[in-house]
Amino acid sequence: MFFGRLISGDRPGSPILAIVLIAILLGLAFAPFLFPGTRSLDTAARICIFIALAASYDLLLGYTGIVSFAHVMFFGIGAYGAALGLDGLGRGFGSIAIGAAGGAVAAAALAFVIGLFSLRVRAIFFAMITLAVASAFAVMVSQFSDITGGEDGFSFKVPRELTPAFKIADGKLFGVSLNGKLLLYYFVFTGCLVLFLALLRVVNSPFGRVLQAIRENDFRAEAIGFRVVRYRIAATCLSAVAAALAGSLFAVWLRYAGPDAVLSFEIMVDVLLMVVIGGMGTMWGAVIGATLFVIAQSYLREVMGALSDATEGAPLLPDLFNPDRWLLWLGVIFVLSVYFFPTGVVGRLRGKD
């Protein structure tokens, strides 16, 4: 079966989940026609990119059982790679490829070094060391402002074929004008789909099984004869490369790279929430988590704004429901889901909690 091969035989395992996943896929594939408008197209592209990013993080967190706080750093490296490529080499698809490849190689090298130092000794060092390295990297990026544009970041030109000025054909299809913006969306969509399917392939390969064995019991995995450190480092590098490629796509979509957009710790927290709420240890969890989260990001704020207005006058309540405090409620949901739904939405739908 072709479709089964495409998803590497990793079936959703629940009819409801399958329907939801197909709906998400169709929704994203036809987003420009189903939800016309700049803002909803932007949301759709973000969902695509964050699905790829969350999936690459799940490879580390859910499958290998390693907590990393440097994942957004690799995302940022990829974004800056593509951005610097397009900025320095001119607006062409070649520059995107060179920049993205450079970013991916840099991310892999950095992940290798960090992994070598921390995973060799004790896996729990990794969480602390990645946090330290990621924050140092963010400071460095804002300091070397002649290359990176500092705090403000910099914008650049993408290939002409990917700009709204480029017309594919005259006229409209289902009321949507056929221009470069559409092409750019499908560029991002295809890139993310390929990345996701590749990650799905990795976790369902024998290599992925070893990672899961390490997550369950690293001592036993070592005893069977797998070099745990090597597998952990390989997983770290792979997920760093995937994150960097997702970052490149994000930079091309935004036509901009800056610390707040691609390097901030908030994105790290977002990705953590996506993976945990969606369901750790399954790639489908990343899809559900990222989709829910990106939609909630705009939706939750509106609900909270309404609640804040409704509780006007009561002490403290309006502040608690202030739209800027949405992270507070996500934090609460996060802690509760780690306790009570460790397998996330996907685990719930599969009925094994």
């Binding site: 967190l61 059982g65 907590v67 130092f117 921390s118 060799r120 000794v121 004790r122 896996a123 729990i124 060092f125 969480a127 602390m128 060391i129 946090l131 330290a132 390295v133 924050s135 140092a136 400071v139 460095m140 300091q143 070397f144 710790f265 927290v269 953590l272 945990v276 403290l316 502040d319 608690l320 202030n322 800027d324 405090r325 992270l327 507070l328 996500l330 934090g331 609460v332 996060f334 802690v335 780690v338 306790y339 460790p342």
Partner: protein, 345 residues
Amino acid sequence: MSLAPEHAPTMARQSLLQRLEPHAPALLIAALALAGLALIPALSSWITLTVAGLAMGMMIFTIASGMTLVFGLLDVINFGHGAFISVGAFVGVSALAALGGGAPDADPSALSDLTTLALAAIAAMAATALMGLAFERVIVRPVYGAHLKQILVTMGGLIIVQQLIFVVWGPDEIHVARPESLKGAWTFAGAAVEKYRVMAVGLGLALFLGLRWLMRGTKVGLLVRAGVENGEMVEALGYDIRRLFIAVFMAGSALAGLGGVMWGLYQEVITAHMGGDIMVMVFIVVIIGGLGSVEGCFIGALLIGLLYNYVAFLAPKAALVSNIGLMVAILMWRPQGMFPVVKAK
């Protein structure tokens, strides 16, 4: 019957290097200070920077000692430790404002505003200790023994507390004025030495000696050290290790709160995410010191403080990176940290 193997004991003196080896981490501080002296052109700037580095190191030690003890005894990596730093700073500064300290029209007599500061610090420590109690009960207790979940849950706790600070104290950073008698500087050999930094060094040193005495000279310390070594055995001997856990967690949180007040007054500005920012250095210190070791933590904190200040003077852009470099170098030398206490659990 075979003969006993040839045995010829030698009484050779250990070489100087061998005798120095156990003290290598402490000597590293001296070496670093000397290297700074050689590289920094003016003596006066070296003195200023060294005092600044020591003060910074002492403050980081105050925070990191709590974290390393909690890890050693409870086997909990508390990513939410930074939350106690921020809360401590905010409570302390609010208490300082409520008591009238730091106001320009306040009575400038030295005793009264130092007392206010002490009261504010005690208020901050009490608040963070209580918060530590709640944190242990609600957030940490259900996940003892599971590192992955601990990291996730305490990180979630950090986010929640940071957001609650925004709710209570508002989203803006707050500027803090030091008490009148701690403003200004003394001049020593042409170098300006800020009074506040000298006080921070004194306080940190007193804390270190106090902690050392507590750990080595008292029964509580004996129990804590025994608990680090083998918690089950302590329990089997009839001691309630849960109460010890809670006490250590509260003490660790209170130390973070104290560190937060000190840091807030040092920087003269406090923000909700200051705890998270400081935690980067705290993690480095805890790792290079060796998880669970108070002495290692002390030496690590001083190394980081001195190196940061020297490098910030010589090559400002490399300051944060230099700390990472130090960590990498020390992990290459001693992969478990300088004073490994906790066996890999």
